[in-house]
Point group: C2
């Protein structure tokens, strides 16, 4: 099999862990696989470099920051090759120029546009393990650019897509995707499989196993992903276009506590109000999540929405600044709320999911502030203090229901 | 003026020193110069990277070592740009790929073949200071290679040559080239000027101010070099094709204590003996320095030569191994000898230099073992214990003679 393996910063944090990863690569190589390996920078390296930069300039240009940070991955790939050389595994490291990872111009937040994999393929054909830096690319000016958060996952998926790899293994410090955050959800279980869409909803709900961009890319190119632990031999979770999981109701529960609610009461009910409101939010760089609008009455309506807690003040200021333009009676906000969501491809075709969901919150005695639904997701807004309790109640209710179907 | 400035690892060792260098660059920029700046890695960085590598593999491939070490200079150039940004100096950093430094394939010891300076020139034309990594290049496989000892000096000179720069300033931790090592020669004086050839002889005699390769390159392309301190405003020493210095007898005295002498007594006086002897030395990687051969007599001759002290045993073994092939009576060696040399373009045309030299050693009561001369150099072999004393005596004799002519 042709496999792309990706290891994050903690997996290569020191000499011992690098040797561990090298041994794992060797086992896969010895069993006959062709391997391209994508690495992040050693976990301390990036922080050290950022410190060095800030000692000199609190606000360096993004271009120079990228030039600096990209060295972290280049060090990782060289060190990993040295470890593989010690284990007598034929290998070669490359930097972003050498493996022709072309990216957009956006320093510190570039996107991969294309990879010319000819050289990587040539090296793979000579039975070498090819070690490639994640998180970076080359833009059309020939400058080094970094890919922003989750960039190494994206590098791995893009490489797997271009190489037509049989599998893209994302090694991380958890051993798979769980039905909920095990620190919050007592009965959380590891999933054997999850679909791209479910994974996307999961990621956007705050489960930081895989970055959205990498999952989107995997979906687009049909890359088979596996999320597994670099520390154990556990099997991990497969992310792929799944039909087998349809019979299952939900794939998991997520809790997001970085949420505040804002309600604008008594808005003038005329066309363009919502547009003016949310374009002002965008201008202030405030991302809006759940939006609910009441049915208009007496020429007035209410709009409620949630924002990240750190954006609350900016959002309130924005609303105040356009009071005259949109016209409203008062603004109300609540800081200590949380979003509890269930995700599952099975929901779309399964009647009774909503009923089960609200049965759970009702039994748990949790008051639901807002509700938002998509084809494969239901989110509710609850008081922050109720969030974990509600999430567990919902999780257990659905897991019992799904148990026979799935496990 | 178009100036190439080069700063070594100690000059950029930490944030404070980087800011100092940035201020110096700013002063030169503000006075209207076009500047390309070549940097070494921060002095600790290279050592730290080597430690990291050796923790993983005591004997890593040179290719991967180059891949690893090259990140050091890339970090320096990015950090320097951040410092210049803070001082509002327009600037841009480049890595070896971006500034098209083409080098030979020899990992860890490559030579610069060519530099395509179009992009550097374009950036200079837009009034940016261009910051470039020293010590590295790209070989014809697209791999990063390092240039070996003194590599950053060579990078700077090569860039100055290709840019047709008016000046190449080598900033270091000494403020110029001295007539002798100030730690040994009490009355050592800083030279205002020195010729390429004198500098070459000096470098090969162990004065580590500039690496030979960079001086050779400067001579070949007629690059005006200045050696000066990064810590003071002192004027430094100009290295150039000089006619002005002809009237001066010597430019300096050097002492090399890493020397042993070997004498082969009673060699058969037939053709090919010396060839067999020295090709055996080369095979064992022993560099031979001064060679003296006596006039043959009774079908026998003697050959004496010096080697680095660390090579003495290898040399003795080599001689033993070819005893039957070359035929000799006995081998004699002496470990504690030293080479004292004077260098000066003036010697070639000045009668009486040798007389003055031996007057000095005679007055000092120093016994001379061997003598070797070139157009601009006289070296003698003395007992190690006499070396410093002899060097000072010679230095002072010549400085008194030259005083009227030069200073």
């Amino acid at each position: 099999m042709l496999i792309v393996m990706k290891f994050g910063g903690t997996s290569v944090a020191n000499a011992e862990r690098i040797m561990n990863v090298a041994s794992r690569i060797k086992r896969s190589y010895d069993s006959g696989n062709k391997l391209a390996v994508v690495l992040s920078a050693q976990s301390d390296t990036t922080d050290d470099l950022i410190d060095k930069a800030h000692e000199i300039n609190a606000n360096p240009s993004k271009r120079e920051m990228d030039m600096l940070l990209a060295t972290g991955e280049q060090q990782s790939v060289a060190l990993m090759c040295m470890a593989l050389e010690k284990l007598k595994v034929p290998c070669i490291s490359m930097n972003a120029s050498q493996c022709h990872i072309y990216a957009t111009c956006d320093y510190s937040n570039a996107r991969i546009k294309d990879i010319n994999v000819r050289r990587v393929e040539n090296e793979l054909d000579t039975k070498k393990v090819v070690i490639v830096p994640g998180f970076q690319g080359i833009n059309n000016r020939g400058d080094v650019v970094t890919l922003g958060r989750g960039g190494s996952d994206t590098s791995a998926v893009a490489l797997a897509a271009k190489l037509n790899a049989d599998l893209c293994e994302i090694y991380t410090d958890v051993d798979g995707v769980y039905t909920g955050d095990p620190r919050v959800i007592s009965h959380a279980k590891k999933l054997k499989e999850i679909s791209y869409d479910e994974m996307l909803e999961f990621a956007s709900l705050g489960a930081q196993v895989l970055h959205n961009r990498s999952v989107e890319l995997a979906k687009k190119y049909g890359v088979n992903l596996v999320v597994r632990s670099s520390l154990s031999e556990a099997e991990g979770t497969i992310v792929k276009e799944g039909t087998k999981v349809e019979s299952m109701l939900i794939s998991g529960v997520a809790v997001d506590k970085n949420v505040s609610r804002i309600s604008i009461i008594g808005l003038e009910d005329k066309p363009g109000t919502a547009y003016k409101l949310f374009s002002e939010m965008a201008k202030k760089n405030v991302s809006v999540d759940i939006i609910l609008q009441s049915i208009g009455r007496d020429g007035r309506k209410d709009i409620s929405f949630t924002v990240a807690r750190s954006d609350l003040q900016s959002a309130m200021d924005a609303i105040e600044s356009i009071k005259n333009k949109i016209g409203y009676q008062k603004v109300d906000h609540k800081e200590n709320v949380a979003k509890v969501s269930i995700v599952g491809a099975g929901m779309a075709t399964n009647a009774g999911v909503a009923a089960l969901f609200f049965e759970a919150t009702y039994s748990a005695g949790v008051n639901v502030n807002m509700i938002s639904t998509s084809e494969i997701k239901i989110s509710i807004l609850v008081d922050e203090k109720d969030a974990d309790y509600a999430a567990n109640a919902i999780h257990d209710k659905f897991m019992v229901q799904s148990a026979n179907l799935r496990h």
